[in-house]
Amino acid sequence: MRKVFGGKVAVRDLTLAVPRGEIFGFLGPNGAGKSTSIKMLLGLAKPTSGEAFVLGAPSGNVEVRRKIGFLPENFRFYEWLTPAELLRLHGRLCGVDSVKLSKRVPALIELVGLTPHIDKRLQNFSKGMLQRIGLAQALIHEPEIIFLDEPTSGLDPLGRRMVRDIIRAQRDRGTTVFLNSHLLSEIEITCDQVVFIREGQVVTSRDMRTQQEEAVRLEIRARKLSPECVRGLTHWSDSVDVDEERLTMTTQSRESLPDILRYLVAAGADVYQFTPQRLSLEELFMGIMGEDRGF
């Protein structure tokens, strides 16, 4: 998909596939085109060119929207409604019958931890509470796919944990979750797969469940490291930092670890510590996007 506003390109060329039943993280710096992309997927905005299919139907298809839940960033709605009234309204709009709603509404309010506030009007809700009720409205019709735009931005740690548990529970019942969040640590422990986008293009993707083909940071403590031996390590890494007995390097694949260890021993080094560490999503993000991009 491509989206141009006036002369400004918001999404250059977004091409991606989201597997069903997974939690899919959508990452990128501010202005990368994430929100515009989500709007195009939901039919809120029309692509300038290209097309998208959601659950097999063109994006924006009215019937398919029965199977889609959406929590917008900064969820807002008529402030004079109570949580139960809001959920009933959204349920009715999704075609949920009143018998089902009478069970779903209190259950969802309980699920998002708002039962003590059931009689309050939304105008008295904090941002975090609005996020919670917004999440509940996205789930009211038991959708097959949920788009969550910054679902934890206004939440405290307990609230974030709750959202994480709900997202996982949804995945476990087969729901696809499309998650856009700035909180990389949340994405890291929640998502099955992530893509990084920049200027409306996918830069790279990462499967969070496998560790085989990932970059690994290696911390080594060894003696008798000759300069030739250290130079030889550049075969597996662009940058090798040496600080007396400590050596730090990043290798692009976990598969190369045995070769590196064998090489060090063969080169006569006494190895005391050989610790591979998975790069955090944040380190990966910074490596891909650069630290000066305002994320």
Binding site: F77, Y78, H90, G95
Partner: protein, 276 residues
């Protein structure tokens, strides 16, 4: 079904707006003042030698002025309560949670429109029939065809509503409000200029009035409503400011209906096509 859910929630949303209650308060104040004015006038006539025929015409003219005030209040109230329902919800993002539900965009817009139509109907009914009742019970006068008059005032409100919706799909709340009220102002001025033109033969003022009525036919619809409600004698003898100097024809009612439908169709089309 979605249309009616949207209409219901919009009606409840509109009913909570301060502007509606302010307008109702202003309306209540108006009805109070109008009732007191009528009572005083009736009292004054009782102690005077003014002939009954003239008394009736003066009280009837007062009723027409009262109904004209109701008309202005209703149109302005309809415009101001509805002006941010589309543009405001697009700006705030409130529309996102609705527009991603299994509803076509036209259902959202028409549902909202129906909600405001219902609210305008209730407002017109309360105010219009309030003034008519005061005229009858205090002043002892009755409009000629009050139902026709009420329907035309309602048509005027629905037309203003449709125009407000049309601009709301394009512009910000403030801009749409300014444009719609500006158009109503043009219609108001044009209507009175056309009325003035009746005093001289072949006045160019009439042309200004006609063009204004084509740009926004609201005032023309009121003058037609006034023609329907005034007694033929009062109209022809020019006892009231809405005398039969320049009466919009039935074609103008047709034009106003077409104008309303075109504005609504444009609003639906543009709301369907635009990014939210």
């Amino acid at each position: 079904m979605g249309v009616w859910i949207m209409a219901g929630i919009t009606f409840r949303e509109a009913a909570r707006k301060k502007i509606l209650w302010t307008a109702l308060l202003a309306g209540a104040a108006f009805l109070l003042v109008f009732g007191i004015g009528l009572r005083f006038q009736v009292g004054d006539f009782r102690n005077s030698a003014v002939p009954p025929f003239l008394r009736y015409q003066v009280i009837s003219a007062m009723l027409m002025i009262g109904l004209y005030t109701v008309d202005l209040l209703a149109v302005v109230m309809t415009t101001l309560t509805s002006v941010d329902t589309i543009s405001g919800e697009i700006t705030s993002g409130t529309i996102h949670a609705i527009a991603t539900k299994p509803l076509a965009r036209w259902q959202i817009l028409i549902g909202k429109w129906l909600g405001f139509v219902a609210m305008a109907g209730v407002y017109v009914a309360i105010m219009f029939w309030g003034a008519i009742a005061e005229g009858f019970f205090i002043g002892g006068v009755m409009a000629q065809h009050p139902v026709r008059g009420a329907l035309l005032v309602f048509l005027e409100c629905v037309m203003a509503l449709s125009v407000t919706f049309m601009f709301g799909t394009w512009f910000s709340t403030l801009t749409s409000g300014v444009i719609t009220l500006g158009l109503l102002g043009v219609a108001f001025l044009g209507g009175w200029l056309e009325q003035m033109s009746g005093f001289t033969e072949g006045s160019r003022l009439a042309m200004v009035g006609i063009i204004s009525s084509l740009v926004m036919p609201s005032e023309a619809i009121w003058r037609r409503a006034a023609f329907e409600m005034e007694s033929p004698l009062a109209g022809s003898l020019q006892f009231s400011p809405f005398a039969d100097v320049s009466i919009p024809s039935g074609a103008m009612i047709f034009y106003a209906c077409a104008y309303l439908l075109i504005a609504l169709t444009i609003a639906v089309y543009h709301f369907r096509e635009r990014d939210l």
